[in-house]
């Protein structure tokens, strides 16, 4: 958060942000989701993996608010625990993507010339692969596990950030204070990480927030296809897999985990767009 000087945050950013009710709403849900995943053991009415042969595929009742699945497990508890997987994947995958993208973008924009050309061609090449294909192909060669999924989503998702940071770096590089830093003998590393990075960080923040939403969607699709988080660990995607198998008898198995994904992704998107508008001096609200 080095980019926000206290004065900027309190004088410009926060007043603009506060007026954007949708973004605040998204932000509160994002915050609430943290607590939900943290407190899942307390909030969940049942053990998410407790099998109950007497309540197989029970529709929503007072006892089981979201119904039960084909093994009689409580869907509400599974959805609550599933939020842990989603958040973990979202944050770690985006952390990887943002780190790679930022470094590539900074180096590429700062040094330009051959380094820039090579790195940007690498970005172009990575963008040629349908991301979902690349992820599936890599997962085929590795055992499915949540760690590989986070790594692979991160490794296939850094290109947007790299382009963004490069563009920022290109304009910051020409500023007088960079020239000043060079005159007093700062090393390239110092200029890049102490002078350019803090000023290029805000657009990254926005794309990271939106990236978390994207990573959550990708993880749920992978888990849905059976290549992601493996049962019995509950994830929103793999609950939907049984939803598909029992679609003719049990609509609740499909409805609730899907709504959970929808609300989560929507909140992150609204929050991210809100930050973008608040940071952008051109947007007048």
């Amino acid at each position: 958060m080095m980019a926000f000087k206290h004065t900027y945050f309190s004088a410009i950013f926060w007043p603009r942000m506060r007026r954007n009710r949708l973004a605040l709403c998204g932000g509160s849900i994002v915050l609430a989701l943290f607590f939900v995943s943290l407190l899942a053991p307390v909030l969940a009415p049942f053990d998410p993996s407790a099998i109950n042969a007497y309540a197989v595929l029970s529709p929503p009742t007072w006892h089981h608010w979201f119904g039960t699945d084909e093994l009689g497990r409580d869907v509400l508890s599974r959805v609550l625990y599933g939020s842990r997987v989603s958040l973990k994947v979202g944050f770690v995958a985006v952390g990887i993507a943002v780190s790679i993208g930022t470094v590539v973008g900074l180096v590429s924009g700062y040094f330009s010339g051959l380094v820039d050309a090579v790195l940007m061609r690498a970005v172009d090449v990575m963008l040629c692969f349908p991301a979902f294909f690349l992820i599936l192909a890599i997962i085929t060669f590795l055992e499915p596990s949540i760690w590989y999924i986070m790594m692979v989503i991160g490794l296939t998702g850094w290109m947007g950030v790299a382009r963004l940071v490069r563009a920022e770096t290109l304009s910051i590089r020409e500023m007088d204070y960079i020239l000043a830093a060079r005159c007093i003998g700062c090393s390239n590393t110092r200029i890049i990480f102490h002078h350019i990075l803090p000023n290029a960080v805000s657009p990254v923040l926005v794309s990271a927030t939106l990236g978390i939403a994207g990573a959550i969607l990708t993880e749920s699709a992978l888990s849905f296809l059976g290549i992601g988080v493996q049962p019995p660990t509950p994830s929103w995607g793999n609950i939907l897999t049984s939803g598909k198998d029992y679609i003719e008898f049990a609509w609740w198995l499909s409805l609730f985990p899907g709504l959970a994904i929808l609300v989560t992704v929507l909140s992150y998107n609204l929050f991210g767009e809100g930050i973008r508008d608040a940071l952008d001096p051109r947007v007048k609200r």
Binding site: F129, P130, E143, A221, L225, I227, G243, L262, L266
Partner: protein
Amino acid sequence: MTAYLMKRILVLIPLMIGITLITFSVIHLAPGEPVEMQMAMNPKVGKEARERLTKFYGLDKPLHEQYFSWVGHIVRLDLGRSFSSDGRPVVDKIKERLPVTISLNVIALLLEFGLAIPIGVLAATRRDTWLDKGITVFVFVGFAVPTFWLALLLMYFFGVKLGWLPISGLHTLGSDSWGTGRYLWDLATHLIMPVMVASFGSLAGLSRYMRSAMLNVISQDYITTARAKGLSERVVIWKHALRNALLPLITLLGFSIPGLIGGSVIFETIFAIPGMGQLFYQGVMSRDYPVVMGILVIGAFLTLVGNLIADLCYAFADPRIRHGEG
């Protein structure tokens, strides 16, 4: 135009080399000897298939020789043979699946643009009205809906609950013997849900993009001029403004191709459509490496070609590109 074309094609060469390098490194991602690892993870692979694999990837040779021999195969469109019991060449398998995927995606793309353009224009011209706000809400929800979930909901609603639409495959069993009209109708009913799902994903993004492109154009001077000389609002918007607002959309067309091809894995799997996406998914699930690697390369090249076509369309539509510095 020719100079521009040459330049664009020359740029493709390093990209193609990059694509083969990345695909090649994916093969070698598996720790240890790829063959050993692959056999351990896929007990169904016999000794014969294993020797074939070693030979195809040249796994007994040094790394750079492996790469060149593999590229040599790819260039001749030899993607090896499938591990599955039929052991057919991967190229043949892809060839029979590709038309299904491409035609489905083209239909989806047409639908997407056909809807996104009027939606975006309406939102821009009626800015800050309830209509614009409604469209914005739709766009945000559209961004957040997982496509596979949408597919499940449609399947439940139209397939199970109402029973209006078939939920899997492209044809009803025995439809081969029906007359042409009935056969086509059958095909069309099978296509409705997959096409809806395939196009919904990018519809939201496209209409939002169209809205901002339109807003951008409307504020320009030549639009004020057009209004000032007394042209009707309809002509100003749909003739003068739309043409320029459509330009950036062409680039977006190129960008949306990898998403569409990637998305086909999801909807083809859910709706049991015999396309490339389903083949890919089956390959992944049965660890049929030649099929997976083949489709990965083909998918990347299709994207490359799609981008090239989009760029050429752009240059064709906008003289500034083909004559200017770009």
